[in-house]
């Protein structure tokens, strides 16, 4: 389970970020509050991804499978990070 959580960590955090933004935008319709919360949630999610990436560097690599899992996981974290920033942009622009 730990391996799956690590492999999918970046994308799971993206999903948490997206659904939190959706709920937040549906509950708090006033833009200033929604925008502030968006920024806070985004920073928290980016921090979580940075923490995961930091942990990833310390994982012991013994086999080709370990190396492959780490490569995909790190890329997933990168994609998740970019997607989180992209997802937060409407709160600044709309």
């Amino acid at each position: 389970m730990r391996t799956w959580a690590f492999l999918l960590g970046g994308l799971v955090i993206w999903a948490v970020h997206f659904f939190t933004l959706y709920i937040m935008a549906s509950v708090f319709l006033t833009p200033p509050l929604a925008r502030t919360l968006t920024m806070l949630i985004t920073l928290a999610c980016l921090g979580a991804i940075a923490f995961l990436a930091f942990k990833a560097r310390r994982i012991e690599i013994e086999t080709a499978t370990d190396s492959w899992v780490r490569a995909v996981a790190l890329l997933g974290m990168g994609v998740g990070g970019v997607a989180i920033v992209w997802q937060a942009l409407p709160a600044l622009l709309v």
Partner: protein
């Protein structure tokens, strides 16, 4: 070397084993996996048969829905045509969309998975062959009944997404909409059954050594596909149930005059509906990735990037559902979030396309029929993808929404992303199931006619859409400059159909189904499905050391065929396969597989009968069918959890594996956990509906049931889970003689029924009625779901008692009891949550 399960990977060095295999071993394997004859075909459960039946049935529905499209194109070729009256046209376009999406696209990708995966993973079969058989027959019988509604004028006519209020009882009073709601809800259950089979199959039946990084890219695609079905389909199952409850019992989920909201349907439908597009596309993308590598004679460029793209698509596709609702007046910020996600989802699709282009660039492509379909599919899909990014932009979507531009977009995506890859796959994998390959010459005719027809049909639709032609109109007035464009589209549609006809002629002339004397690896593929196979799949199960084992080890096929790897014969005299660990595919145990049986077929027929008869309001025969279906399913399950006399056996090279395990190591545990996720998702979407209606219609809400009633409800649920757990705990205490697991489990199930009974009673006492408001409807729907789960718990108690009385609940561990305990504990947890959440808000 690192191990996941304690298995020593150094043991792989014992393979291939030297020397000859004993005489008669192969003959025994062939006897155990013998082919069905005549009427026995109805009892077949082997993936070679079920997969083939499944593909053929899905293709039949493709042809039927295609014929409907041709008739519609004739109607639209000229203004004011009289080929189809308005009502019939509405039924035609509804059935075209519904059949293509629910009876062709999803079943087809699932069918190809059932056919290919065991061979590709070198498993004897998928882990639940009877479930595959049940899923197929339920789909086929139900689908045919559903389609025939068209001949009686009873087909649904509300469009493939069935928006209320148009589909409410007020505006659609006949049973047409009920056919859709019950028929499709039932077919989705079949899709979920198939998805459970595929997910557990990919994770637990891979050949030893096939670690995650060596897994075929198609298996990755099917894994993500299965998980997406498990997350997405419960939403539409719930939606169809709610709409049917509104139509049948006047529970106002979607009626804004009584605290419901029509947009709730759109949320529920599109939370399923948009991932559905990727559910169709990802398996096709997996097929394309496999074929591109073979056709270019080079490993796929960026294998791990494509895996990442599959995973990213799986996640992001769940964040785009509301882009179908940009014109409904959602809050601006929400629209912005969904627009951003809709653009972002094109990135993983782009990664896949660039990877295929790069593979073509570095390899040496052969321009045969599969390659032509692959290239045609990529070009068409990219066009559809680009128009998809256009409609992801909100101002453009406002202009193009519900116009023919959208029809053009979705057909480019689906035909380019799924249909052309499917035809490529037919040509590529036919030599695996037929004694003759399909014809290159006829195939090229088929491709060019289909490709030309596709572009001629759908390119002009972009234009006519931008010129203002709305979708779903049965005719139009002359003088709007739409005539020529529509005529061109109609000519294109018949050209496309001519291509399909050329393919059918090719199939009739060359396809000859076989399970053991196939045409072989004519394209030079490198993955395991191209090993010599019989109904038992490969003679022995190889150790996998790379992604393209046949390219890297030219002797592999010979060694496998000579039985020099795992499981060269039958170790127990029964059907069996090796269950491996999910990450590193280390052998864990030998699964004893069920053989042919009429019960899955009968269960499927009676299940279909239950739903279809319910639709036509023949209630007594319907419930009789429902009871018979339950009996058939229980009877088929009766044989599946059994011990053999050998606790462990030699599976080759002196390696011994157990023949029975329980808990998280067992494949049954995985299937039950996935089933609970499905049920959990239905519950989550029910809770979403509850809070959504509270959010949009709070003035209709009244005070909830008394909080004191929780003092009775919660302890009952606590007792249910405690007693169920105690039954499992006590089973392991072999010395005790003071109890039976059946009694403890039955007490747990009764406590469950007490919990839901008390909760229901407290709501009835509160005075709230299900037809009073959106609050009443959603509360009673959640209670109804809980009551259904509790009823299944009681049924399980009877089943466990019956097995116990026959001495089949064996000590110290037993899978049947384990899985039923999991069910009761989950149901108790969901019941407690239901009781608390429904009381959390009110007027």
């Amino acid at each position: 070397m690192k191990s996941e399960t304690g298995f020593d990977p150094a043991l792989y060095a014992r393979f291939p084993t030297p020397g000859e295999r004993p005489e008669g071993e192969l003959e025994e394997l062939e006897r155990i996996w013998c082919a069905p004859r005549g009427w026995q075909l109805l009892t077949a459960v082997n993936n070679n048969y079920i997969g083939f039946f499944y593909v053929a049935a899905a293709f039949l529905f493709f042809l039927l829905a295609g014929i409907l499209a041709l008739v519609m194109r004739v109607q639209l070729a000229l203004p004011l045509q009289g080929v189809l009256p308005q009502d019939t046209y509405n039924q035609f376009f509804t059935m075209h969309g519904t059949v293509m999406m629910f009876l062709f696209a999803v079943p087809m990708v699932e069918a190809i998975g059932v056919l290919l995966l065991p061979q590709m993973l070198a498993a004897r079969d998928l882990p639940f062959p009877r479930l595959s058989a049940y899923a197929f027959w339920a789909y086929f019988v139900g689908g045919l009944c559903f389609f025939t509604s068209l001949f009686f004028g009873l087909a649904p006519d509300g469009g493939w997404f069935m928006y209320p209020p148009y589909t409410s009882i007020t505006y659609s009073p006949g049973i047409n909409a009920d056919f859709w709601l019950l028929g499709i809800g039932f077919i989705e259950i079949s899709a979920i059954a198939g998805a459970i089979e595929i997910v557990v199959g990919v994770l637990r039946t891979r050949a030893p050594g096939m670690t995650l990084d060596k897994m075929p890219i198609y298996a990755w695609a099917m894994l993500v596909f299965g998980v997406m079905i498990i997350i997405a389909f419960p939403s539409v199952i719930l939606g169809t149930l709610l709409l049917e409850l509104e139509r049948a019992f006047n529970w106002p989920f979607f009626d804004p005059t009584r605290g419901g909201d029509a947009l709730l349907w759109q949320h529920l439908f599109w939370f399923f509906g948009h991932p559905e597009v990727y559910i169709i596309f990802l398996p096709a993308s997996g097929l394309v990735s496999m074929m591109v590598a073979t056709m270019t004679r080079t490993p796929l460029v960026g294998h791990y990037l494509i895996v990442l793209a599959f995973l990213a698509t799986g996640f992001i596709s769940f964040g785009v559902w509301a882009h179908h609702m940009f014109t409904t007046g959602m809050p601006n910020l929400s629209i912005g979030f969904f627009s951003a996600a809709s653009m972002a989802v094109s990135v993983p699709a782009g990664i896949q396309v660039f990877s295929w282009i790069a593979t073509f660039a570095v390899g040496k492509p052969r321009y045969n029929v599969p390659t032509l379909f692959l290239l045609g599919g990529i070009v068409t899909f990219v066009i559809g993808g680009l128009t998809g990014v256009m409609v992801a932009m909100v101002p453009f979507d406002w202009q193009a929404h519900d116009s023919y531009f959208i029809v053009a977009h979705l057909h480019h995506v689906l035909i380019g992303g799924m249909v052309f890859p499917m035809f490529a796959a037919f040509y590529y994998w036919t030599p695996m199931t037929s004694s003759r390959a399909l014809s290159e010459q006829l195939g090229k005719w088929a491709f060019w006619l289909m490709f030309t027809g596709m572009q001629v049909t759908f390119w002009p639709m972009h234009l006519v859409g931008l010129m203002g032609m709305p979708r779903r109109v049965y005719t139009y007035l002359p003088g709007r400059e739409w005539e020529v464009i529509n005529m061109i589209s109609t000519v294109g549609a018949f050209t496309l159909a001519a291509g399909v006809l050329a393919f059918l002629i090719d199939v009739a002339r060359n396809f000859r189904f076989t399970t053991d004397s196939d045409a072989g690896n004519v394209y030079g593929g490198g993955t395991l499905e191209w090993l010599p196979t019989g109904l038992y799949s490969t003679r022995s199960i190889p150790v996998v050391k790379s992604r393209e084992p046949l390219w890297d080890d030219p002797k592999l096929a010979e060694d496998v065929e000579a039985g020099r790897y795992f499981l060269p014969g039958s170790a127990t005299g029964l059907r069996e396969t090796i269950i491996t660990s999910p990450l590193r595919a280390e052998p864990q145990y030998l699964q004893i597989m069920p053989g042919p049986s009429a019960w899955p077929f009968l269960g499927a027929v009676f299940t279909a009968g239950f739903f279809i008869l319910l639709t036509v309001q023949a209630y007594i025969p319907s419930f009789a069918c429902g009871i018979l279906a339950v009996i058939c399913v229980l009877r088929w399950l009766w044989d599946t959890d059994r011990l053999v006399k050998e606790p462990d056996v030699d599976v080759g090279a002196g390696i011994r594996l157990p023949t029975y395990v329980t808990g998280p190591d067992s494949h049954g545990w995985w299937a039950m956990m996935i089933l609970l996720i499905v049920v959990g998702m239905i519950f989550v979407m029910g809770v979403f509906s509850f809070f959504y209606l509270y959010g949009v219609q709070p003035r209709f809400w009244v005070a909830p049931a008394d909080l004191w009633s929780l003092a009775m409800v919660l302890p009952a649920y606590g007792a249910a889970s405690g007693l169920a757990w105690l039954a499992r705990y006590m089973l392991a205490r072999e010395a005790t003689e003071l109890w039976t697991p059946g009694v403890l489990f039955l007490c747990g199930a009764i406590a469950l029924a007490t919990g839901i009974g008390a909760d229901l009673w407290s709501w009835i006492a509160s005075g709230l009625r299900p037809d009073a408001s959106g609050q009443g409807a959603t509360v009673y729907a959640l209670l109804g779901l809980e009551a259904m789960l509790a009823a299944i718990g009681l049924l399980m108690a009877g089943y466990i008692s019956a097995r116990n009385s026959r001495g089949m609940i064996v000590r110290p561990h037993n899978n049947s009891l384990d899985l039923c305990v999991l069910w009761v504990i989950y149901t108790a947890g969901q019941g407690a949550l239901t009781a608390v959440l429904t009381r959390a808000v009110g007027g």
